[in-house]
């Protein structure tokens, strides 16, 4: 079985995230890391591998600049078998449409060497763009059944079952592999790399692809090819600190009630 797990390298959410003058996300000036929500995807991929009979290869795939290799290295340390990083200057500023195109081509290329992917596992959303568009677009492009926002995943042979907490109902989704699967943070904590894992990762293969390797024309990706344009980005003014009172014998509730009344909430 072949599993491709998508790992995005994102600016650290606890740092000061910002935009460049061309309104693209600043991916260089801010420290980056493996998107927290993709750790859950790596964890599920590894659990599926561990439970499966027979050989399973887990390939961690990322599109990003050179330093995005860190996201792949983390996945390899956790236990993925090999990594593929797609790097090309032309990709900078790509939207979800172009990202999903390059990911689809890379997944096809990985299939040439490994055999076709039985499972493509992604996070529920990236922690920077956070649109959740890429998984749905990728399912559309690859013609795969879409099993997304899974909070519990079970596989048996070529069958997959996933629980999905929808807006109006909790559903169980079923499909036959190959499948595109996206998982939420409800699937369970991701493992930490062990010392052994960290050492082993150094010897695992990490391949680099360019757009030319994938047969993607540079004109199809990047900021200029995006199907949407950001016209303006504005930092929200930080919230100004409000009044804080310490409750003593009911004074807190009283003060709060007065505040709510002054704002016409009661």
């Amino acid at each position: 079985m072949n599993i491709v797990v998508l790992v995005k390298h994102v600016p650290d959410a606890t740092a000061d995230r910002r935009f460049e003058s061309d309104n693209t996300v600043d991916r260089v000036g801010v420290d980056g890391l493996l998107s927290e929500l993709d750790e859950y995807a790596v964890e599920q991929a590894l659990q599926i591998k561990e439970k499966a009979d027979g050989d399973v290869t887990v390939t961690a795939l990322c599109i990003g600049p050179e330093q995005a290799g860190d996201a792949i290295r983390k996945a390899l340390q956790m236990g993925a078998d090999q990594g593929v990083l797609v790097t090309d200057d032309a990709i900078a500023g790509s939207d979800a449409v172009a990202t999903s195109l390059v990911l689809a081509k890379a997944i096809e290329k990985i299939a040439e060497a490994n055999g076709a992917a039985d499972l493509v596992v992604t996070g529920m959303a990236s922690t920077d763009a956070g649109t959740s568009l890429v998984p749905a677009m990728l399912a559309e492009r690859l013609g795969l059944p879409q099993v997304t926002f899974a909070s519990v995943v079970e596989t048996q042979g070529d069958q997959i079952r996933a629980k999905r907490d929808g807006d109006a109902a909790t559903e169980v989704i079923g499909a036959t592999l190959p499948v595109l699967l996206s998982v939420t943070d409800q699937t369970g904590e991701a493992r930490y790399p062990s010392f052994k894992g960290i050492m082993a990762a150094k010897k695992k293969p990490l391949e680099n692809y360019t757009l030319a390797d994938l047969g993607v024309d540079a004109g199809q990706v990047g900021l200029d090819a995006a199907w949407t344009a950001v016209e303006e980005t504005t930092a929200r003014p930080p919230r100004t600190a409000g009044e804080i009172v310490t409750d003593e014998d009911g004074s807190g509730a009283k003060a709060l009630a007065e505040f709510l009344a002054s704002k016409k909430f009661i």
Binding site: A13, F19, N23, L37, D95, A96, V97, T127, D128, T131, S132, L133, V134, P135, A136, M137, A139, E140, R141, G143, L144, P145, Q146, V147, T148, S151, R161, D165, D167, A168, A169, T170, E171, V172, I173, G174, A175, Q186, W227, T228, E232, T233, T234, A235, R236, R239, A241, G242, E243, I244, T246, G250, G252, A253, L256, A257, F259, K263, F265, I266
Partner: protein
């Protein structure tokens, strides 16, 4: 004027408020055509009331049991037929996924989570956990925009509401992810979390007892929310979770009780108009965001507050 397709958000034919908001926004851009995918009679009257000039009814008998993909095919075929000037979709998880697939099918740009759409088609979004506001526009094809709840005040304007049945052709490929079981969410009798004007939330500090949080919510006519710590402890279902991996809410008033204010929680609430917190730790980061904060035990502050509110209501 060109048509604007609006995907109707409904539960068993009952139109949700978000649909009225989308119809209101659609009128800024052109003539709203509501797309009702469901069974039974289309709720034409409800849709007309908020300005739907046309109602396309698509019988979902054949596609009900499948996830997302068939609905994207329906919209792609409708778009082909009526060449709309834009397509508006509710910004739920499913809505965004439909939008993503549709974008690839009809080769059009997509913008998600808009909190406003101007008549020029320029959208406003809130990004990076609410720390930036972004203005954007679709530059290719038919703009596909998913719109968040509470993005417009619904305006009642009578539309023609001309009903048209639309028979879509659904491919076998779209019917590969099957919904094998479905459990409707239990009605709470309270407002919907993402639509509510007031949200009262509880975190680990409740110790698992949400009685005081719920009583306060009811005195304010508010929805109840929870932190992930409260959800992970099994005190509330995931549908109540506010934050990065739960619901993003933007009410007039948000009341955080026994919630420390972790960045992932902030991501779901920091665009609220007014923020209030009750926490016994004066160092809790939530106090950096509040308009008013009480350092105290929620188990004593909330019941007293609830009583004071109920008294004022007389």
């Amino acid at each position: 004027m060109s048509e604007i397709l609006v995907l109707v958000d409904h539960v068993d034919g009952n139109v949700r408020k978000t649909t009225n908001e989308l119809l209101t926004i659609a009128r800024r851009l052109g003539e709203p055509s509501a797309v009702f995918i469901g069974s039974g009679e289309a709720p034409v009257e409800a849709l007309k009331k908020f300005g739907a000039e046309k109602v396309y009814a698509v019988d979902d008998a054949e596609i009900k049991g499948y996830l997302v993909a068939p609905k994207a095919e329906v919209l792609a075929q409708l778009a082909e037929k009526c060449s709309p000037a834009a397509i508006l979709i509710p910004s739920s998880a499913e809505g965004k996924e439909i939008a993503g697939r549709l974008a690839i099918k009809i080769e059009s740009g997509v913008i998600t989570d808009a909190v406003d759409v101007a008549d020029s088609g320029v959208t406003t979004q809130s990004v990076f956990a609410g720390s930036f506001t972004v203005q954007a526009k679709v530059t290719k094809g038919t703009p596909i925009i998913t719109v968040k709840p509470n993005s417009a005040a619904p305006e009642e304007v009578a539309g023609a509401g001309a009903l048209e049945q639309f028979a879509a052709t659904i491919s076998d490929g779209a019917k590969t992810a099957q919904i094998v079981a479905s459990q409707p969410r239990q009605a709470t009798g309270r407002p919907e979390l993402t639509e509510a004007a007031i949200v009262v939330s509880g975190g680990r500090g409740t110790g698992g007892d949400f009685t005081a949080v719920e009583a306060l919510a009811d005195s304010l006519g508010a929805a109840v929310g929870a932190s992930r710590a409260a959800v992970d402890s099994g005190w509330k279902p995931h549908a109540f979770q506010v934050g990065q991996t739960g619901k993003v809410v933007s009410p007039q008033l948000y009341v955080a009780n026994g919630i420390s204010g972790a960045i992932q929680h902030r991501a779901g609430m920091q665009t609220s108009k007014t923020i209030v917190a009750v926490n016994k730790d004066e160092e809790a980061p939530i106090f950096e965001l509040v308009d008013f904060g009480v350092v105290g035990d929620l188990h004593t502050v909330l019941p007293a507050l609830t009583e004071a509110i109920n008294e004022r209501k007389g």
